[in-house]
Symmetry: C2
Subunit: 328 residues, 2 copies
């Protein structure tokens, strides 16, 4: 029997989840739940109902795993514990500093209801976290480096848009090539914030706005830009729409470590992703972990889980025999 | 209480295991077992006994995990099932084609004795296998590429040494930079054997040997060299000893995959390792998994396991709380 997936929230992540389900022969989309008027939500998959979230409790025996596609700021801290009381759930909660409290809330709800609540699935947190943990376990004496990009930072784009005179803006975070090379060489460089990433902004001005003043305000903005080398381009609306609507992203996780009687041997582990679509990659990770959620649930496990708790084989459709024969 | 590790076999892997234990505060070396005369085996760790393998049965209650450091060709197929009948064991069995039968033999012995037998731990099989499985689970519609090197291939070095007139030889497997770049670009290239790797040989000739004839025999050797571009250098013994005694190695695992309604989005995942010491990196992986073996054993699990069966958190000394707070 196929794994029946429900989606709550139909934005970029919801649509990405729907697409990822279509690529998994062992899964099917059971329903999309929305806070909007369901009649106004058109989904890609034929013959799958769009249902008001107010009706979700009627679906508890028709869904194996509910994928929560809300935002980390206000949606998921409420939704994940709430729905873990009724379903196995999975989210992509990505506010790193608040993961421990989110874990505790979801763990309590999921244990009480006898479900699995898997949190913080995606690439960072997610695949990057896994790579940090594996590499630290293997090379306990070493240094970690994470680089993000090239890709859009939503928070930084928002910050630029809040400046007076700015009509629209996109901010790209770009890892500095010479810093990547220094880390890759195993030289264990000390890298400042400015050494690691560039920030590049594409800005559409309101009519009559003062470009020099906008540029100054961007470059001097504390926390967001002041500690970085920042490049600002002013472009028109047409170019903005044509060239800056993509959702490409990526990044690097490195660990360099030493072994040997006198620590004479250096080793560098590098994990790198280059993504045309940030939300579709994130949801591809989520759907693989949804497979694991169902399996852990049928084993009798309950409570909050993260990617660190899941045996890799659980992500796969293939049997252990097949995996050992073809991938090991 | 510290995890008590036994080592069977004191070559490069045995010594690497000993060094990795010294870096793990939660582990201690209990004993080194040898098929040689123990009085002739000098180890690095003070006050740890070197014991004849004939006495190993007396140590069953003094060792949590026995690390088997023999070779995959003839040692491990016998040793791993044999000692899984008495101990939790871990090996680095790396004959990919024979993993299924090795798994079955170890599984039977370990289940009968109520132990864990973890096999094929290292980097390939091992970390590379993990990366293939994760990336295939995330990007089911895609292509895999594995590259090895730059590093010494023992099998190819041996093959060169068997040629008449060759006194000594080292063969380096080198990934072709343009092939790496093509894969990294997401263009999904079709790569022949020749496209992916170069072979570079450093050869010391016997006195009076015919260099041209040796070079011809190397380059035309079926399976080993005929399908590759091969570079042969003739050097003297002094240069050989000075420049070609290292154990550096490395490699790359890539998966490129497509997502999207019309498969319009490309993604590339790259895992890369650059190692000064192949055996010390391998044993660093083994010691992390030895930690997991003990944990799985105390949970009541038995039988043969591979890296695909182990939750990443089990490799770490840190608690789940610490891992979530610092690595997720």
């Amino acid at each position: 029997m196929k794994t029946r997936i429900g989606i709550l929230g139909y934005g970029n992540l919801g649509r990405g989840t729907e697409i990822a389900i279509a690529d998994a022969e062992d899964m099917e989309l059971a329903a999309v739940f929305t806070r909007r008027d369901p009649s106004g939500v058109k989904i890609l998959t034929p013959d799958v109902p769009v249902v008001s979230v107010n009706e979700i409790e009627k679906w508890t025996d028709k869904i194996d795993v509910l994928v929560l596609c809300g935002g980390s700021a206000t949606d998921l801290p409420v939704q994940t514990p709430k729905y873990a009381a009724m379903f196995n759930v999975i989210d992509s909660f990505d506010t790193h500093a608040r993961i421990p409290e989110h874990f505790d809330a979801v763990d309590k709800a999921a244990k009480e209801s006898g479900h699995i609540g898997m949190i913080s699935v995606g690439w960072d947190p997610g695949m990057f976290s896994l790579n940090r943990v594996y590499a630290n376990a293997i090379l306990p004496d070493g240094k970690d480096y994470t680089f993000w990009g090239k890709g859009v930072s939503q928070g930084h784009s928002d910050a630029v848009r809040r400046i007076k005179g700015v009509k629209n803006a996109k901010q790209y975070t770009i890892p500095v090539e010479s810093a990547l090379e220094a880390v890759r060489s195993g030289s264990d460089p000390e890298l400042s914030t400015r050494d690691k990433h560039l920030r590049e902004c594409f800005v559409v001005l309101e009519e009559g706005a003062d470009a020099a003043e906008v540029e100054r305000q961007i470059k001097e903005m504390p926390n967001y830009f002041a500690d970085y080398n920042t490049i600002v381009h002013f472009i028109d609306e047409e170019e903005f729409t044509r060239d800056h609507s993509g959702m490409a992203h990526g990044g690097f996780v490195f660990r360099s470590g030493k072994t040997g009687v006198n620590k004479e041997n250096k080793h560098v582990i590098e994990y790198r992703i280059t993504l045309d679509s940030n939300p579709e990659f994130t949801t591809s990770v989520i759907i693989a972990y949804a497979r694991a959620v169902k399996r852990m649930y049928y084993e009798g496990q309950t409570g909050c889980k993260t990617v660190l708790d899941v045996p890799p084989a659980y992500l796969c459709q293939q049997s252990g025999d097949e995996l050992r024969a073809h991938f090991l």
